[in-house]
Amino acid sequence: MLKNRIIPCLDVKSGRVVKGINFVDLKDAGDPVEQAKIYSDGGADEICFLDITASNENRDIIYSVVDKTSKNCFVPLTVGGGVRSVEDINKLLNCGADKVSINTAAVQNSKVVEDSSRKFGSQCIVVAIDAKRNNGGWEIFTHGGRNPTGINVLEFASKMEKCGAGELLVTSMDKDGTQSGYDIELMKKISSSVNIPVIASGGVGTLDHLVDGIKSGASAVLAASIFHYGTYSVNQAKQYLASKDIPVRI
């Protein structure tokens, strides 16, 4: 039986791990390579790096971080943040990323998703969707959650599936950083409307939130703060899910 995945996410800025509250107010902490190794040794099913480096000159740092991490971690590594083009994806894959997540570029030009999934295979193309509630539905935001687009999230999710995305990483902007749980309604709606796996993200504060995320239909649950600040270990999270009869790899 396929197990539900627990994915710790590391927000990386200029080569250092940080974690934002509602995408602002960043606190500095930790070396990404070391953190990733701790997570993979602790049973993480995948590791996710989100590069939130703003300036272009520091952007290249992520390549060496990915390169070092992939030589130490033998579970899948997903890297996202600032990915603009097929060439960016190619570079990250060559450095040892197993999957690349595309956010703003996918919204601006869906051809990036089409071209990259054709070139590298759907298995390594994750489309990251930042969703915010609006008028009874959800709207896509880009640029790290700063820019509204007027695009309906569910329509966009279906479109990305057709373009060849292998997975959708869905973050609720309303919930991110609040530690009040995933936007369960959003996860349910998206999971039932596409046939590709959905990774739930944004808002985890307790282990029950992870349980709720899986029950909403997501194939994987992503969390940053609860692991990063040591509130829970990945292994504790897995034991807890298993105790709630949710299949996990232990």
Binding site: M1, L2, K3, N4, R5, S40, D45, S70, K71, F74, V75, P76, L77, L93, N94, C95, G96, A97, D98, R118, K119, F120, G121, S122, Q123, C124, G166, E167, N195, I196, P197, S219, A220, R249
Partner: protein, 208 residues
């Protein structure tokens, strides 16, 4: 000893390289090349593969003489070869991803899309699933039955002769997840991404 990872532009092979180098340490030389002479003279060959069946077969065919060299290595000289993911799938006679495409024909059978039971099962089959060992395989030495392996695929190998199957996994139906036929080995899952158990399989292959 030389182990060659065939670099034929089949997509991202950096994780395969990293894991083989990690396991080999300094004891075994890991080559990454499409050089036909180096492949011929190596002791073992790894055939990775990502993307579609068609794109991988096309990429193999784009390197003049590569298919013949692989045939000579694995079929005529019976030297150990490990196919990973689409690398395994290409052992079949034919694949049906994108359009009907001829495979290497080493394992009689076809590669077809996993039945998603009308959307009940999401595709790709992504994540950790159990390896149910159904036949002793040299590469599974020391691997516990039902160990978790990392999968990413939407297509499955359907061999005509089930006796080549060494492991299956349960996703929608019993999917072939590994084969052993004489000197030919293959895993549908990614040992290079399957944590300690995966590295152990790589170790077993290197030390055959």
């Amino acid at each position: 000893m030389n182990v060659t990872i065939v670099d034929y532009n089949s997509g991202n092979i950096s994780s395969v390289i990293n894991s083989f180098k990690e396991v080999a340490k300094d004891k075994v030389n890991i080559e990454v090349t499409s050089d036909l002479n180096k492949i011929k003279s190596s002791d073992k060959v790894v055939l990775p593969g990502q993307g579609s069946f068609k794109s991988c077969v096309d990429a193999l065919n784009n390197i003049s003489g590569l298919v013949d060299t692989l045939n000579e290595f694995a079929i005529d000289n019976k030297k150990p070869l490990l196919g990973i993911c689409v690398g395994l799938q290409m052992f079949a006679d034919v694949g049906y991803e994108e359009i009907e495409t001829k495979g290497l024909g080493w394992i009689s059978g076809k590669v077809s899309k996993i039945d998603n039971k009308n959307g009940k099962y999401k595709l790709p089959h992504i994540g950790w699933n159990e390896l149910n060992i159904v036949k002793d395989s040299k590469i599974f030495k020391g691997i516990e039955n039902n160990s978790h392996m990392y999968f990413v695929h939407s297509y499955e190998l359907v061999p005509n002769d089930k006796s080549v199957v060494s492991g299956i996994t349960d996703y929608s139906s019993n999917i072939v997840c590994s084969i052993e036929k004489e000197n030919i080995f293959g895993t549908q899952f990614h040992p290079e991404k399957s944590d300690k158990a995966g590295l152990k399989i790589i170790y077993n292959f290197i030390n055959l």
